[in-house]
Structure formats: structure tokens, C-alpha cells
Symmetry: C2
Subunit: 408 residues, 2 copies
């Protein structure tokens, strides 16, 4: 049997998320029901939710495989995410998948083999480096460096990792999970130049776009917009659009040949996606609903991040972080207030959930790949409901003040 | 880039299914909408479909990731498929996947590596042998033999294919796509003995169960019920339950360790399934609805197979087959009535769709792996609506009588 490393963050969530009272570990913007989604833009007093056009369409839709690559309406709505006034992104260069996780997996399954070298930004979602390794590739990690004000990617470091001829794929994650940092335009441009020079395909996981809420600079564009042909971008409805429960993600590429190759492999593990989900996704990404949903979620993140920031600044002896500028997560370093040393992040999170019911994700355990890497770090998902965050942090504050952290 | 063979049957369907007027190529029992599913068991005159408990539940369900391995209600309903009065199949030994295609894929991705030898029954759904090969395994095909009255699996042939120590996985498909044959209990028992002796895990794709409609003998049991520990069974809502548009499949195993290993790998490509689909699937597999749905579909297959059988017997110079006893497909050999030689199945199917709008699947192209194998064979999916089948076959009959087959 193949040795596949446990996916620590998924296993952590699976173990604890049904046991906690305040889930401040989730990476999705506070989820909605269909009724709530409909309420964002329609006047619900005119008819009950069950009689809206969306619900009636779901009820009457014939549940066959449907359009194999995704419905034209859904593809059209996704193509607008990557189109500009001067360039209409063709919807034939998009594939629908059951979530971004399936999108990324499909890219690796199709493009990576044991003779390949893959470079992956780090820290990031563990899938992005463990899956290519499970398929036999050698993987190097391009490590973000923490400074006073940012998590920064060093282009010289990337250059040093490239193995000419062997490096086939560079995996980015922008905005970044768990740090909430972004790769800005100038860095993306430098990456593009290197990718072109060494003929490296770029997979940019942009599942947290367009949750750009706190950067003074303009948000980075999608890597697709840089015009580099061998670019693959993935996204989904789960994080930025509050709809993790419908499993709709996508792959878009500037290279039609890559899309055809991925479609060919996709026949073997997907066929098509849920027709109910496709219908809901097309509705959620229609211009009016999408605008309302993104505004709701950027407002939510701005509001909640200020609550988190106030909390973190209140306890400078206990924690510190680089304030995120995008996405839904913060990577916070916790210190034992007596010794000043970083805490054991697993013991910290387990004590916290036991004593308070608040769920965080242990960062060293879930993101570290070397001994002691990110020890003491905790990932906080602050895009939950404002009430859940506020009450959860109040509990954590009381726990800290009661000496809860003194022994972890 | 990895070389993955095109999945011929999927690509054929993708190319033609939106262009035909009579789709007699589909393998699913005639699909239903949610409204039709609800009508099977509820009195729709009492309230509109949009106000039924199922639709209201869908509308109000919070669309987060939900239960990672599948909801308890869905798992419970699936466990009853494999339970007997004396043995309750534990629902902890079931994993939910987006369709049976994802279920099979997950098994291969998790359990197969380049040092392994895999044996797969043949002909069958191409995924079942192409995916293990794409992961580097060597694959041998255990070929069904056509006799006058059946497609038969020869146990001595299986014995000859086993490479002691290297053969790790045996893949079955029962009922069989495309032949509609079954592996009966005595053959399953012999397979079990061999699997035990050589420590081979058995993957039994039972996605067409329980569509047993025309066999004089009792239907074969699930391979799970034989009690062999290293058994994995896959199934879904797509074929027998008319709900391909909701992407719900499952993996069940007698070995909890296999389930944990698969769950660990599943974290990397699935997370969880659609919460809308999970809710619909739990409803469809609830005892009352399931009974009504299975009865509808077995009745449909019985009725339609008689129509097909009458058609085939009308043209003995043009076609012959072994009448299927289960599932939704028939594998029919077409002959040029002038030469008596088998037709070119691709040219035959392309001429047919061009001239009549009727879609069949070319069997040699989609199921043959050697030069000329299954040349002239066509897979007919007869579980479409009775009207579509009847009118489609009328068109084919008129075409044949007009000499349409004389030149293919």
C-alpha cells in the first residue's frame, strides 16, 4: 500500500469540529443556507423561500449527469472572474470539479510523475506538497520568511530551488493559508519570468480570492492575468463564497492543451459534478448575488479581524503575529508567559478545547514539516460569525487570565 | 506529463449525448428530478413539491462541510444494504464519495503502487483497469468468455493470472457493464478462496446492484457478505437509483483498517461531499423510497429488455447477443447482412447517429484492449425511458430495413 502522510489539518478538524462550542478554526467565510443565500438579493417577503426560482429550478432539474465539464451558465459566470474589459476569458478553458481540493488533486494526478521535481510555497495547505510527493515526485518547499510586518517570499530563494529540466511545477497559494499574506504583483512578475525561462508550469491556488480586505496596496491579480501560457489557477465556492457544502471548484488555464489533458484524466475520477450544486453555484456567481456575497464576506473579515487584532494586542506577552491582509486565517505565535518560550501548539489547542470549548488549529502540527517548525503557532480562522469569534475570544481571554497558558 | 489513456466511453458520451435525439447509450436507470423522486412515495396533491419536507430541508441546510465521512442518516441507510437479520454492517466501515467513480479512484490511489500486480475482470468499465495502470501497476485482464447463453468467468483462467506475492488487488464488476452478466455465488466463493490463499484484496464494483431483473437463479450476494476481510465494495446512486446528477457513491469494507487508510487518502481529494446531495441520497435510500425506486427501475428494465429482445430477434442476420440478466446494458454484436462479417462498430454508431439521431456506444472502441477485440459490438443502454427506447429502436429498424447497415 502506498504511504500517504496523514493530512493533519483535515484530521484535526474532523476530530474536533463537532466537539467544540466555538469553532474559530474553520477557513470558510461563515456558511449560509440556500434560504440565506437567496435573502442576500431577493425580497423574501414576496414569497416563501421554497417558492423562489432557485428552489423551484432545483426541484425540477432532471438529475442525470448533466453537462460533463459544467453547465454553460456556471462556466460563463466563472469566466467573468478572469475576464477584463479587453479580454474575455474563454469558458472552454475552465473545468468544474467537486471543490478546489479535487481541482488541485486532478492537476497533480495528471501532470506529476516520479521523474518530476515540484516546488511548493510554504507554509500552505498540506495537500499542495503531500499529493505530488505521494505520486512519486521530489518536492522542495519555498519558505515564506516572517518579518516584522509581513510573510515574504524571496525570489533568490526560489531561484536556488529550481532544478533546470527537472522542475516541472511551481505551486503557489495566493492569498496564503495560513498566514493571510499575499504575493504582490512585483513578486508574481518575477515568478513569471523564472517560470518562462525554465519552462515550469505554475499552479496558483487562489481559493481565498477575492477576500482582500486589509492591504493598503492594490490586491494582486490572478496569476492567469499575467498572460503566461502554462498557468493553471484553481478556485472554489467554499472559502470566499461561504458555500463549502456545495462541492464546486474549478480549474482555469491559459493553455487549452492543459485543459484537454486534465479533462481526459478527469473522466477517470469525476465524470461531472452535482447538478444541484452546479445550479446553486451558477446562481451564487451570477453578478448581483456574487457582489452581495463578496461584500458580506469582506465586511465580515474586516470586522472580525479588528476584533482579533484587539485581542492579540491585549496579550503581547502571550502571543504575536503578522496581521493578515487577506483571506480568512491568521497565523499566531503563542508564548508561555512565564518562560517566554513558544508553547507546544498541540497541547495548547487540546487544553484550550478541553477547558473552553474553543477550537483553534495547532500550526506546528498541521503546517510544520521539519522538527520544531512553526512550533507554538496556531491558525485562527476569524471568518466565522462575529458572535462566535467574539464570545470565543472572550473565553480564551478569561482562560489566559486564569493562568490556562502557564502550563502549555 | 503522465500518459493517461483516453477514457473512450466517457469521451464518446461527452461528444454525442447532447447531439442525439434518442440516447440509448446511457447506463443509468431513467433519471428523475427531486419532484419526481418525492412523487414516488408522497401524495403530491396535499402540498406543492416545493413545500415538502425534503425541499424545505435542502433550503434550510447550512452549507458548511458537514459530516466529513457522510451524514449519520446516509451512512445508516447504506449500512442496511449490506446488513442481514443476523449481522448489522457497521456504518463506521463506510465512506461516502462523490460517485462510484471517485470511490473506485480512491481505492486505486490509496492501495496501488508501481510494484503491484492487479487483475481486473474484462470487459468492464475502463476506469477499473486504466487507473491502476496509470499509477504504475502492471494489470492483467481476466476475460469473460461468451457462450451461447452467458458471459462466463473461468476460475482456472483466474488462477493462471495470479502472481503469488505480487498480485495485490482483484477487481470485479458485478453485475457487469457492458454484458449485463453476473458472477454467481459459486464463482464468488471460488474467488474468495483464491483471494484468501494469495492474500489479494478484492474490489467489487457493485454499482448496478440491485438491478437483478431477468435471471432464473437467485441474485448473487454482495461480495461483502461472503465474510472475506479484505473486501472492498463500491456503489452509488447513479445507476440503480436514477440519481446520477447527485454525486453520491460509497466504499464499504469488511476491514476497518482499509477504511481508515482510504479515509486518510480521501482527506486529500474530497474533504466531504455535497450537503445537498447527502440529504437527497439519505432520502432516496430511506427504506420506503428505496423500495419504490428499485421497484420502478426493475420494472423498467424488465419491460425495456423485452422490447430490446424482440427487436434483436427480429434481425438475426444483423445482430445477436447474450440476453442480459441484470444491470442496464446489453452487449450486442452487429453483422453486415451482406458479408456476414462484423461491422466496424465506430463507423456503425457514427452512421446511426448521423442518419437517425439514435446514440449507441461502439463496443470495440470503448471496451476492446487488443486489436479487433469486440469489433462489431455495441453497448445498448436499455434503461432509458420506455418511449425513448421504443421510438429509438423503431428508427434503427427502419434504418436497417432501408439498407443503412449494408455499408458499415
Amino acid at each position: 500500500m502506498v504511504y500517504i502522510k496523514p493530512f493533519n489539518v483535515e484530521q484535526w478538524m474532523d476530530k474536533y469540529e463537532t466537539k467544540c462550542t466555538n469553532n474559530i478554526a474553520e477557513t470558510c467565510c461563515d456558511s449560509v443556507s440556500l434560504a440565506e443565500l437567496i435573502s442576500l438579493t431577493s425580497n423574501s417577503t414576496t414569497h416563501s423561500h421554497s417558492e423562489t426560482p432557485l428552489i423551484l429550478a432545483l426541484s425540477k432539474k432532471r438529475l442525470d449527469y448533466g453537462h460533463i465539464r459544467g453547465s454553460p451558465t456556471l462556466l460563463t459566470n466563472i469566466s467573468t472572474l478572469y475576464s477584463t474589459p479587453s479580454h474575455h476569458f474563454p469558458f472552454s478553458q475552465i473545468l468544474i470539479t467537486p471543490g478546489a481540493i479535487a481541482a488541485n488533486f486532478l492537476v497533480f494526478y495528471t501532470l506529476v510523475n516520479p521523474s518530476h521535481h515540484v516546488i511548493c510555497i510554504h507554509p500552505t495547505y498540506q495537500q499542495l506538497h503531500t499529493v505530488p510527493a505521494s505520486l512519486g515526485a521530489s518536492v522542495s518547499l519555498w519558505k515564506l520568511q516572517r518579518t516584522e510586518t509581513s510573510w515574504t517570499a524571496d525570489i533568490d530563494e526560489l531561484k536556488s530551488l529550481i532544478v533546470p529540466g527537472a522542475t516541472k511545477l511551481l505551486v503557489l497559494n495566493n492569498p496564503n493559508n495560513p498566514t493571510g499574506a499575499i504575493l504582490p504583483l512585483d513578486v508574481l512578475m518575477e515568478i513569471k519570468v523564472l517560470a518562462q525561462k525554465y519552462d515550469i508550469t505554475v499552479l496558483s491556488d487562489e481559493v481565498y480570492a477575492p477576500i482582500f480586505h486589509s492591504s493598503p496596496d492594490p490586491p494582486p491579480p490572478s496569476f492567469l492575468s499575467l498572460g503566461y501560457k502554462n498557468t493553471i489557477v484553481t478556485g472554489s465556492l467554499s472559502k470566499a463564497y461561504s458555500l463549502a457544502g456545495i462541492r464546486i471548484g474549478w480549474i482555469a488555464s491559459n493553455n487549452p492543451d492543459i485543459i484537454e489533458l486534465l479533462a481526459q484524466a478527469r473522466d477517470y475520477n469525476t465524470i461531472s459534478v452535482s447538478q444541484l450544486d452546479d445550479t446553486v453555484a451558477a446562481y451564487a456567481l451570477s453578478p448581483t448575488v456574487r457582489r452581495a456575497l463578496v461584500k458580506r464576506n469582506i465586511d465580515l473579515c474586516e470586522r472580525n479581524l479588528e476584533i482579533l487584532d484587539t485581542f492579540i494586542k491585549k496579550y503581547p506577552k502571550h502571543m504575536n503575529y503578522v496581521k493578515p491582509v487577506s483571506g480568512t486565517t491568521a497565523f499566531v505565535k503563542f508564548l508561555n508567559p512565564r518562560s517566554g518560550k513558544v508553547v507546544d501548539d498541540v497541547r495548547f489547542c487540546e487544553s484550550l478545547i478541553r477547558d473552553t470549548g474553543v477550537l483553534f488549529v495547532p500550526g506546528g502540527h498541521c503546517f510544520g514539516v521539519e522538527e520544531g517548525e512553526f512550533k507554538g503557532y496556531v491558525r485562527i480562522g476569524y471568518a466565522c460569525s462575529t458572535d462566535s469569534l467574539r464570545f470565543g475570544l472572550m473565553k480564551v481571554g478569561a482562560w489566559i487570565e486564569g493562568g490556562g497558558m502557564d502550563f502549555v
